[in-house]
């Protein structure tokens, strides 16, 4: 009788605990910042790069070179002095021959895709090490800025056309 009771109590306790653990996971891990899974293989070395605009580049986004994933974005912060974005990239240890004059560009994968960092190799003989910096960067293309530029260039052209039409009269 008591043996069955104990099974019941233990079983219920484990069930309730499991349920609350699941609830806790859902409420704490899901909405918010910070990546739990998706770590770089064999722990990478960290380099940083500064951008004028990172778009919506997220922590955990992949870092690629020639289309192959070589690391991931570790952190995205803003420099209080320069007012540029400082992005820390974690690169896998086996890719230790990336020239120091390489270019880091923020690109979009696919149509509605996520932002990622693409590296293009430079020609230098020295390679990036832990704590190094990538000097040459290209910011993300922000769609709104492009559209604004398009509109203002169209308005400019039609203004010119009107002006030259009036001159001809």
């Amino acid at each position: 009788m008591s043996a069955g009771n104990r099974t019941l109590e233990i079983g219920t306790g484990m069930f309730v605990l499991l349920g609350f653990a699941a609830l806790a996971f859902l409420t704490t891990q899901l909405p918010g910042s910070g990546v739990r899974i998706g770590s770089v293989a064999g722990d990478g070395y960290t380099v940083s790069a500064r951008f004028d605009n990172v778009g919506d580049l997220k922590v955990g986004a992949p870092v690629t070179m020639a289309g192959v994933r070589v690391g991931r974005v570790d952190s995205v912060t803003v420099d209080g002095n320069e007012f540029r974005a400082v992005v820390k990239l974690s690169i896998e240890r086996r890719y230790d021959r990336i020239p120091t004059d390489s270019d880091a560009a923020i690109q979009t994968s696919g149509l509605l895709g996520a932002k990622y960092v693409g590296l293009s190799a430079g020609g230098s003989d020295t390679y990036l090490k832990e704590g190094g910096t990538i000097e040459f960067t290209q910011s993300a293309l922000v769609l709104e800025n492009l559209v604004n530029k398009l509109f203002s260039s169209i308005a400019g052209k039609s203004g010119e056309a009107k002006g030259s039409a009036e001159e001809k009269k």
């Binding site: 019941l8 069930f15 349920g19 859902l26 910070g34 899974i37 998706g38 997220k58 994968s109």
Partner: protein
Amino acid sequence: MSGISTSRRRGSAPFDAFGSIGGVALFLLRILRQCGPALRAPRHIVAQIYNAGARSLVIVMLCGLFVGMVLGLQGYDLLARFGSESALGVAAALGLIKELGPVVTALLFAGRAGTSLTSEIGLMRATDQLTAMEMMAVDPVRRVVAPRFIGGVIAVPLLTAIFDVVGLLGAHLVGVGLMGVESGSFWSQMQSAVEMDDINEGLIKSVCFGVACSLMAVYQGYHTVPTASGVGLATTRTVVVSAVLTLILDYMLTAAFL
């Protein structure tokens, strides 16, 4: 003669329907009134949480895993057409937390635990145990029905949370493991897209579904025709009515949240 009784039966059908709905509502009030006293004997409630919840764990986790895996597959296929595979985490998480988790868990609960509740209480009714309790001045609603109702209402949200988590892991398994979605993107996009409001919505839904399914199960058992075939009919009715009620409530709650 038979023509008159047929039309009388047909004509009274709407009133019977209203009567049943009224009966369910009044029964709910009666249970709620007995919940206070029932909580003073927690070991009955613990036993019912075990019956309703812990025993449904296997089916909920299994189904959660496969629902998550299917979500991973279908979601990947759909998103790949737009080049947005990295949004798989978002699609799976929102789909599970807001809709699939609460609804599927409620349906599974109605099928596994609801039928068990109905047949248990129905058998007590058919063997006159409930009447015997009344004659001993023990309120059967307080002693038998309320603990089962409370156990169900507590178990369903917990089961839903477990379903959600296992489903997410299944989607991760298929998306990242099988289809090659970026693991970092999977989680980071999900974390930036899921808001506390979504989780609250899923939680509130699961509580409402828990109340609805548990109520249906105990109501059908308590008011069953006290024969063997009557209990069988009541069990079937539990599943059917619980399912329909859950989906209707789902629409209403979703509309209310948007």
